[in-house]
């Protein structure tokens, strides 16, 4: 039986290795066909900003890979509202992540769900396994 896995992303990209490591673990874990959710809180919300361009810092820009999560059946992406607001950001500043529902003739659906801290607490409470990065 599939377990519910949640990956909590709490760190900004590029300044440390956590964001990239988390993304790799998520992609590897997706092969095991579990019920996967991602949460982005605190500086983790910075991972999803659009328009990242790393040519000037000599690091790989891994932000395009978040768009592939839908292909990996990772389509529950929770972004915490309070964390966004504290950073002067809104959903418009983030990438538009979608997934395609094969059962509905590849209808495109939004992956990102904007949730309050209290709502996120309930989602986390419902998980079997929570991994924090």
């Amino acid at each position: 039986m599939a377990k519910k896995f949640m990956y909590m992303n709490t760190k900004a990209p590029y300044g440390s290795i956590y964001a990239l490591e988390s993304l790799e673990v998520v992609l590897i874990g997706a092969a095991f066909e579990q019920d996967v959710s991602l949460a982005f809180i605190d500086d983790g919300v910075y991972q999803l900003t659009k328009g990242q361009s790393t040519d000037g810092i000599g690091m790989k820009n891994f932000s395009p890979t978040y768009s592939a999560l839908g292909d990996y059946d990772v389509n529950k992406i929770y972004v915490e509202k309070e964390s966004l607001e504290e950073r002067g950001l809104s959903l418009d500043d983030l990438q538009h992540l979608t997934w395609e529902d094969e059962d509905e003739d590849w209808a495109e659906k939004d992956s990102i769900r904007l949730v309050s801290r209290a709502e996120l607490a309930d989602v986390i409470d419902d998980q079997d396994v929570v991994l924090s990065f």
Binding site: K11, A12, P13, Y14, G15, S16, D42, D43, Y46, T49, K50, G51, Q52, S53, T54, D55, G56, I57, M59, N61, S63, E86, R87, G88, L89, D93
Partner: protein, 100 residues
Amino acid sequence: MTTLHTVNKSPFNSSAFDDCLGLAKSGSTVLLYEDGVYAATSGTKPADAIANTDGVTFAVLGPDLKARGVEGKIADGIKVVDYDGFVDLVAEHDKVHAWL
């Protein structure tokens, strides 16, 4: 003695930025780079604190802004520099205080 302060940690995740702001004297410069650049983005408490600090010059490293997709969110009055500009700042000041 003129000082260049450098901060490379997110202001939301470390006390480095607050510590630096509290101890930077008038006439000094604060350069934000790596995750420190988030302090320069508008609509945040750190950006308000920068706006309310008189006599201190604030600069931010452009390539780190671009990498993080926040180039368009930079608050008013903060100078964007490239790597050469970083070197110039180091040369122009008597010492560098790298905050951790």
